[in-house]
């Protein structure tokens, strides 16, 4: 059965989200071998990445199609600014309110998730069929 071009080019947002969540849980479990605090900090570091990124993806894909492209670009710029601001606020909140915190676990998990998220989007991008 022939599918529409729109469907073929659709990004696997839900699959990305599931893989990223699984990766965060796995990393938190690996850090938990160093202690409960390290595992908890790793989980928080992963969530600091995941929550703003999910919101960014939702904002970017709120509108689609050539007619709405200028609105989509506006959403992209706004969502990126808010994503960076949200990340900064979450980090500030964690460093101020969470005591004690395992900083290497937090920052390492966050950095790994940022790189993994970018790589995941690149390697699992939809392949257009011609």
């Amino acid at each position: 059965m022939a599918k529409s071009g729109h469907r073929l080019n659709r990004v696997p947002l839900l699959r990305w989200l599931v893989i990223e969540t699984t990766a965060i849980v796995v990393m938190a479990l690996l850090w938990a071998t160093q202690g409960v605090l390290a595992g908890y900090s790793a989980l928080v570091g992963g969530l600091i990445f995941l929550v703003p990124n999910t919101w960014f993806a939702y904002q970017v894909y709120k509108v689609e199609g050539a007619r709405n492209m200028s609105r989509m670009v506006g959403n992209l710029f706004r969502a990126e600014s808010i994503k960076i601001a949200l990340t900064a606020v979450f980090f500030a909140a964690v460093f101020n309110l969470m005591e004690p915190i395992h900083v290497p676990a937090l920052l390492f998990t966050f950095a790994v998730m940022v790189v993994m998220g970018a790589a995941l989007r690149w390697f699992m991008r939809p392949k257009p069929q011609r």
Binding site: V11, G65, A88, A92, F95, A111, R121
Partner: protein, 75 residues
Amino acid sequence: MEMVFIAAALIIGLGALGAGIGFGLLGGKLLESTARQPEMANQLQTKTFIMAGLLDAVPMIGVGIAMYLIFVVAG
């Protein structure tokens, strides 16, 4: 101690500058390409989304390190 704040400001400022230039180019090219070939709009939007993820990786890590410098090292 002031040097830590200057370092954090440089990390955030230069990261934001790079991301701003990159996103400006990305959004401009997306609008230009969609105007040329509107039938490719969904494909171009997907490519833009993927590139946005690659583009903001370094500034995001920079924000994390800068917050660490401000609230843990200096605080």
